[in-house]
């Protein structure tokens, strides 16, 4: 080990060793987002997998991003085996060489006999990840705060005259710029083309300017639900599963506007350098087969990423799925490779804009 390596790796290694001493080597560590979502994964994936293989699964939570994976891989001390990542992060982490590549030909076929490459939804197979759920970045509102006409379209989010009240937005340019353009009249199919020009970016920021002083910014997925519940905002962008939980399970008067939802995928990926590569791969294949993905919808309203699983979803849950036909009609897929190119400069510009 050269001095340079020693300098960069030693402190990281020490910190990580100290943090990871508690987990035994035979366990498989699966990292996900916590809350109701992790619970659904434990029921649908972890428990059956432990039953089948005898491998104990340690469930850890994180709050997104790939900084921790990067730290573990660079320090050469990987304690996370399988991780649930958003699409943008799968692409990024794969680019940075932090994840194990997965050959789609080795994935199990669908129940209907379809090859995995045909069975997963569009974009559901990345070089380093296999999608498990489809979820929607949607707009939700508190029904009790609108006595007369209720909002029903994305445009209404930007119309604070007709639909008064503060708005909740995630503190990131991603998807907010797209929403702004669409509310300004750009059709979903052209959003990224327009956003690719300097004029398009200005136009998106100008539209956001209209509601800037009405916005409460949130960062974690649980915050928008809390903001709605506290009456801090009347309308907010959110993730469909969280709103489902608040309205259907906890009985809050929240409604989802499915118009122009931004469809997103979550992926299972394996951290490069894991000591349990075989088990991790086994777990990944097990939990992304037709039956497991369909089973998860019994516990949470996120849609399975396999077409063959959708047929198995119960009638009760189907209307809450992001991929239900009536919800999906105006859905726009987030273009993550476009964002990979532009995130650095747009994030900087967004931060500067926020600050002004």
């Amino acid at each position: 080990m050269t001095m340079k390596n020693l300098m960069t790796q030693l402190p990281l290694a020490i910190a990580i060793t100290a943090a990871s001493a508690a987990v035994s080597a035979d366990d498989l560590t699966v990292v996900s987002w916590g809350g109701a979502y992790t619970k659904s994964q434990v029921e649908a994936y972890h428990k059956p997998f432990t039953e089948k293989s005898g491998t104990n699964i340690v469930s850890e939570n994180y709050s997104g991003g790939i900084a921790e994976i990067k730290a573990q891989v660079e320090a050469g001390n990987v304690t996370w085996d399988v991780i649930d990542l958003e699409k943008a992060d799968v692409i990024r982490a794969c680019d940075e060489g932090l994840l194990v590549e997965i050959d789609p030909a080795t994935l199990p076929k669908g129940d209907n006999g379809a090859m995995a490459t045909d069975d997963f939804v569009d974009g559901g197979l990345e070089d380093c990840g296999v999608a498990n759920i489809v979820w929607g970045k949607i707009v939700a509102f508190d029904e009790s705060q609108f006595s007369g006409k209720k909002p029903s379209k994305l445009v209404d989010f930007f119309n604070t005259k007709e639909f008064p009240g503060k708005r909740g937005l995630k503190k990131t340019p991603k998807v907010n710029l797209e929403r702004a353009l669409m509310a300004d009249g750009v059709p979903g199919a052209k959003v990224y083309e327009v956003l690719g020009t300097a004029d398009g970016v200005n136009r998106a920021f100008a539209k956001l300017d209209q509601i800037k002083d009405q916005v409460v910014w949130w960062e974690a997925g649980s915050q928008p639900v809390q903001l709605l519940a506290d009456g801090e905002v009347s309308m907010t962008t959110a993730y469909n599963g969280r709103i489902y939980n608040a309205s259907e399970v906890e009985g809050k008067p929240f409604k989802i506007i499915w118009d122009a939802q931004f469809a997103e995928l979550d992926f299972f990926a394996i951290v490069k350098g894991t000591k349990n590569l075989d088990k991790a791969m086994e777990f990944l294949k097990f939990s992304t087969d037709t039956k497991r993905l369909a089973d998860q919808t019994n516990y949470i309203s996120y849609a399975p990423a396999r077409k063959s699983s959708i047929a198995l979803v119960s009638d009760k849950m189907m209307p809450h799925m992001a991929t239900a036909p009536e919800n999906f009609a105006t859905a726009v897929p987030v273009d993550h490779s476009w964002w990979a190119d532009h995130q650095d400069e747009l994030n900087e510009r967004f931060n500067a804009w926020l600050n002004k």
Binding site: M7, T8, L10, P11, I14, G65, I66, A67, K70, R92, C94, D95, E96, G97, K166, K212, V215, V216, W217, E219, D230, G231, E232, S337, A340, D341, H342, Q343, D344, E345, N347, E348, R349, N351, A352, W353, L354, N355
Partner: protein, 417 residues
């Protein structure tokens, strides 16, 4: 301690054996003292000095191109940025990309280049895919026909910036500057300038918090110091109780208090004082209020301990010699409290300049501080170099301010308790 050997050397009649034994005994004491502090030294080395050095190193160290495409890096260092690079550079880049694609390093190279110039990521990955099948040897023509961006100065400017192992780009970015395509240092476009503003705002908010802590803490500390012990102990517990409560709990309770439908607003509205809720949250007011509350004990405790040790006799003497109360206070009492006051103020200021959780939770859009951006670059954008450069700049600012403070007040004039 050090008077003993002197005495020994001034007294030649003492037995040399005794001198030797004394030295031995002293050496033993020294070694024992050293051994006692070894754990601390090791601890500080591993938890403070090493990470700090590593961070500063990362802010200038930039090995990605040199390590992965050494030939390209070497050629780019000689390129003068006047016109488009020659065939040799195109060939080196073209061949290098194919190799990097095979070795799976292209993603990292592309991400780093992309942070210098947007769009480099797709340009590199797309070109590498096509170049793999290219059999000819006129790379320049071929690459220019693949994508017109290969003919643009900005593309090559990004390569040039990364061509040496050590670079100042992160520090330039931390001060809203960049290298342009010709290699000159210019300002960032106005809509992307943020870090200088943020640094100034951080200083402003920290100064405000310090000022409020002084204004609120000084009289309270004075009151505590003149009360009889029974009452002052009770009040002291009221100061310490929040101090012992978790930072997160206290910040969240401020959210409950200050938000639009929160305790303060709904009380004021139900009393008829306000008709619309005030915006006291998710802006600079929220940050300053919550931080002042959280940092107040750091002001009160050192000030109190110094005031406690000032005898009331001085004030009485001043009054009996004819000073007005104000005069007595400013000429006699106040100067004696400066050690505690300045210790408290500098504690609060330095703690608040690096504050992170509270602004993140209650600062909203405008109440953010520079640590929130550092955390953002460490956790989200993964631009660790820029994060390190921002942290390095913050460190430099703190050191400069401390130096100025030391010149004005003097560090000996500081007493923590």
């Amino acid at each position: 301690m050090n008077t003993t050997p002197d005495l020994a050397s001034n007294a030649p009649e003492i037995d040399p054996q005794l001198k030797l034994r004394l030295r031995k005994a002293e050496r033993f004491l020294k070694v024992r003292a050293l051994l006692l502090v070894v754990p601390l030294v090791v601890f500080v080395l591993f938890t403070f000095v090493l990470p700090l050095t590593e961070m500063l190193y990362r802010s200038i160290h930039n090995p990605i191109l040199v390590d992965n495409l050494p030939e390209v890096a070497a050629l780019m260092r000689d390129w003068d940025q006047q016109q488009l690079p020659g065939d040799d550079i195109f060939t080196a880049v073209g061949k290098g990309l194919v190799v990097a694609r095979e070795q799976k390093t292209i993603g990292r190279i592309a991400n780093r280049l992309n942070s210098e110039h947007a769009g480099m990521r797709s340009l590199l990955t797309k070109s590498a895919r096509k170049l793999r099948k290219y059999k000819g040897d006129d790379y320049k023509d071929y690459m220019l026909s693949l994508d017109k961006r290969w003919g643009e100065a900005e593309t090559w400017g990004a390569f040039k910036v990364l061509s040496s192992e050590y670079t100042l780009t992160h520090y330039l970015a931390a001060f809203d500057m960049q290298y342009n395509a010709q290699g000159e240092i210019v300002s960032q476009p106005e809509e992307r300038q943020i870090y200088v503003d943020m640094l100034l705002k951080t200083l402003k908010l920290s100064l405000l918090v310090t000022l409020f802590c002084v204004l609120l803490g000084y009289p309270l500390a004075y009151y505590l110091s003149i009360l009889p012990p029974g009452k002052s102990n009770l009040l002291m517990i009221l100061v310490l109780l929040p101090f012992w409560t978790s930072l997160l709990v206290r910040t969240s309770s401020w959210i409950v208090m200050l938000q639009g439908q929160g305790v303060v607003n709904s009380t004021l509205i139900s009393l008829g004082i306000l008709s619309e809720p005030l915006d006291m949250m998710y802006n600079q007011i929220g940050t300053v209020v919550a931080m002042t509350h959280i940092l107040l004990p750091f002001m009160i405790l050192p000030t109190y301990s110094v005031m406690k040790s000032i005898s009331p006799v001085y004030m009485r003497a001043a009054r009996s010699l004819g000073a007005t109360p104000a005069n007595a206070f400013f000429k006699v009492y106040f100067p004696q409290t400066i050690p505690g006051l300045s210790a408290g103020a500098i504690l609060v200021f330095i703690l608040s300049i690096g504050y992170y959780i509270t602004p993140a939770l209650v600062g909203g859009r405008t109440g953010q501080m520079i640590s929130n951006l550092i955390a953002y670059h460490m956790q989200t954008s993964l631009n660790w170099g820029l994060g390190a450069a921002l942290a390095g700049s913050l460190l430099a600012v703190v050191l400069v301010l401390y130096w100025i403070y030391n010149r004005l007040v003097g560090s000996s004039q500081m007493k923590l308790g």
